[in-house]
Symmetry: C2
Subunit: 140 residues, 2 copies
DNA sequence: GTAATATATGAGCGCTCGTTCATATATTAC
DNA sequence: GTAATATATGAACGAGCGCTCATATATTAC
């Protein structure tokens, strides 16, 4: 994920021309790029964990690092990316900085994907089990 | 996106332990990785366009390449990835191979993200317009 | 048979991404 | 004042990704 020039993730780069994309089939270059950027944010497990952490509310940098066993600089770099995409806001109090999610869309996508993952792997259908029937038969 | 060892995108690598992820907050390494792989598929504009093309039904490789102005090998490589993630199925007829989407989840995520992109950029709120009021005032 | 068409795939290349390390700044404690 | 703590950020490195080119295979047309 590249860090953009302080542009939010939404808002089209060009003007209009959404008509062709009415039925989904046939994405314009512009929209395909926007979508890939949105999904790109979620395509890293570290960022996903950070976002998920923020879904429980406002958390400071060092707390995120502690909870996720990440280096502070790693967390700061990722938060910077999320900040420049306008997905989080921050608030400084003393020497600690608290971050907060401010985008519903990304969180909604995460939730939906999570539902799907759970749906397919949660159901205790055929938990691997080995049943052995051991015995000795003496042939005389 | 790496090509996996013929493993589908769903199905957890380890056994169970989904309990901790009940409220979304606190993703396990395993689940975060699974999610990042799902989003990773959608994090490339070329793949998005291919998937969107397949959302209109069964399409063959050369047709996809033609519609999207992509090289045939590019399309084949991406389709191979999608095939190994079990997101598409293919059917050979003569010398042409038809591909078809076979995963609802990914298509649903695309649709949802698309709705959000449209929602925020579609509305014709303040289309950039310059209004000039030019005149000459002669001071005598 | 040969030629043309459709697809698959390995190798290589350039680019991007995520992490780590080192360091700078700001704030609090003393 | 100094020390400790919290955060931000630039540089560098290694890994992975997507594309292109070349080539192999399969099928159809002739």
């Amino acid at each position: 994920m590249a860090i953009p020039n302080s542009l939010p993730i939404n808002g089209s780069a060009t003007t209009g021309t959404l008509a062709l994309t009415g039925t989904v089939a046939g994405l314009s270059d512009d929209i395909a790029l926007q979508l890939s950027e949105i999904f790109g944010v979620l395509a890293d497990s570290t960022r996903l964990k950070i976002i998920a952490t923020l879904m429980s509310g406002e958390v400071c940098v060092c707390e995120i690092a502690k909870r996720l066993s990440l280096q502070q600089s790693t967390v700061s770099h990722q938060l910077r990316l999320l900040r420049e995409l306008r997905l989080v806001t921050n608030r400084k109090q003393g020497r600690t900085v608290y971050y907060q999610l401010c985008d519903d869309h990304v969180a909604a996508l995460l939730r939906q994907a999570l539902d799907h993952v759970r749906e397919t792997s949660e159901s205790p259908v055929l938990v691997p089990t080995v049943t052995m029937d051991v015995g000795l038969r003496v042939t005389t």
